[in-house]
Amino acid sequence: MSKIKILLADDHQIVLDGLKSILSDIPDFEIVGAVNNGKDAVDFIATSHTKQSEQKPDIVLMDIDMPIMNGINAAREIKKNFKNVRILTLSMHNEKGVIQTLMDAGADGYILKNSSKEELEKGIRTICRGETFFSTDVTMSLLNQSSEITTSKELPEEVKGLTEREIEILKLVAEGYSNKEIGDRLFISHRTVDTHRTNLMKKMNVHNVAGLIRIALKSGLVE
């Protein structure tokens, strides 16, 4: 079985050195190159492909923050032209947003730089099997997704029974106005606004402000 050919890309020499020393210990791993930025990585792959050489990397182990071209853009470039090249991104970050973007760009896995030798090896092997890999910490992050509230096509049942005044208040609540501000706007006391809010909650059977606002947003009351 042929060796797994690896291209390393990181702008920190110490990291490159560290990675090289660890990975070269593994018998079926072969470091075919080490570059300092995303652009060089892309170029390296392109050159290796034209030559039909033995240096064609199977996997790119790439940092995210790099000068000239960062890991995200490099991943996008590589995946565009060389679908077979697997990409494992290395990062200090453990941030869901960044990971999401990386995935969107075409990276196959994500591993923290301070991961152990074992995890690194595991990650590379997993990716090479055509699967995705995330550091244990990172997998957690992808579980808890935020949800987008969208306007429903039909007016929610809860809103149909509301009075005009109540709808007006609901709208202002969703726009982030306090009871006092709403009272000032509608020339009523803030206590009256509070009463309206309580009634709104009862009518729509919600128990918190968030629920109130959710319905307001679904009803398209907020422009």
Binding site: T101, M140, S178, I213
Partner: protein
Amino acid sequence: MRISILIFLGLILSVFGKSQNIDSLERALNSANDTQTVQIYYKLLQAYEYSEPEKSLDFAKKILEHPLNQEPYYRARNYINLGKLFKNLGQFDSAVSNMLTGIQIAEKAGDFKNMAMGYNSLGLIYKTNSDFEKALKYYRLSNIECTKLNFPNGMAMTLNNIGTILDAMNKTDSALVYYNKAAKIAEDNDLTGAKAVSYNNIGEVFSKEGKDAEALPYYYKTLTCDSITNNMMGMCYTLYNISTSYKVLGDLDKAFEVLNTIEPLTKRLNSTQMFILYERHIANLHEEAGNFELAYRAHQRFKTLNDSVYNSSKSEQIAEMQTKYETEKKELEIKNLSQENEINALAIQRKNGLILVGFVVMFLILLLVYFFVKQLRTNQKHKLTEAILFERDKGIAALFKGVEEERKRIAQDLHDGVGQQLSGLKLSMSHLQSKLFKKDTPENANFEILVKKLDTTCQEVREISHQMMPKTLIENGVLSAIEDMLENTLVGTGINYNIEHYKLKDRLPETIELTLFRICQELINNTIKHAKATEIIVQLIKSKKNIVLIVEDNGQGFDQNKSSDGIGLLNLTSRLNTINGEVSYESSPNSGASATVRIPLV
């Protein structure tokens, strides 16, 4: 015409009797009883009537007020007499009003005589004023009253008067009808005076129409009547009329013959007026006869006489006018003086008024200036406060910006510098470990501890970097950053979280994102520390005008009155102020607390 009027006047005035010596009358007044007094007044009135009309007027008034004269008959007559006097003075309005008063009194008392006299007098007044229509009306009324009274003299005279008006209105035929009527009445009742007037009037109408041949018989009839009544003046006038008629008919001899009969009469009358008439008539006749020298001499005499009369009357007039003028001048002076005084008084008044107005205006101006200055100061103060606030906000904003930039830089340095180095170091050390030591040796275990420590340091650096400035906030925006922050902070706290967003696809301005993130961070930290919550809901909403962040928990809430704005929240508020944001908190023991942040999108 003129003759008829004079005669009629004479008739009426004859009521008061013949004029006597004025001095003797005034002397008699002292010893007179009431009845006599009134009679003397009447006489004095007549005596002064033409020479001193004002005095005459005084007596008329005295008579009017005299207790003996309060019977309607006398009152009516006295008013009418007063009217006549006013008429002679040329004061027609007073004349008419007195006359009318008299007539009214007479009408009430059914006193036809005075009514007749009053109407006649009114007619005369209007005739003098050339108001023929009215004159005719009152003459006719007078005639009616005279007819009722069966007073032939009055009837004849009023008919004559009507005739004169019609004559004056050039209705000669109608005039003649009335004159003839008058003549008939006079003849029937053998009224010589009235006959004379009527005949004369008829004659004059014929003369006027150039029918002197027809006129002559009437003039002769008149002359006869005049001679019967011994009216020499009338005779003179009639003779002149006859002479003129002969002259017109070309019979100059006859004319001169008649004229010669006038001379003795004129001398007996001894009236300058008559002499003048006489000389003028001679001149005319001589001229007509071709006796130019005689005519010239007569004319000279006429002129001398006329001039003397004219001059005397003229000098009288002048003297009168002088007096009048001087009086008027004095009056005018007095008037001017009083006017001047008035003007002065007015000027003073005006001056005072002006001064007062000046004071008021000045006061108002001062008041205005005061308020203006006050307003200006308030405005300036307000502006200053605003400027200070603005500067403070600007300062705070700059401070926050500086802090954030510094954080960003440090985070970057930690992450890219120290962090990477440490990561690299760790990798190298792990590699070295596997080379140097065999597994399960104490040395290997010790080295393993060192590597672990290095790893921990590495993680800490990563953590610090992240806390300072989450990479994702810069790269992916506030939503991701908050998601990460929630996840990282709430791990192991036992708090579940839920994040919802609305229309938040696009990135927001960096300041707003940073602010939102920091505020959310602070709010979450507070919740963890104080709320004892098991759930947190974060909502991030983008509307047309605002960005709204809601952080709500199901914890114990907080006492809204116990506003214990910690440093974190205070920081948060000042941060919001720099971008005009608002934050409000709500709490209820049942449903926990919620914080709402609203940032306007400019």
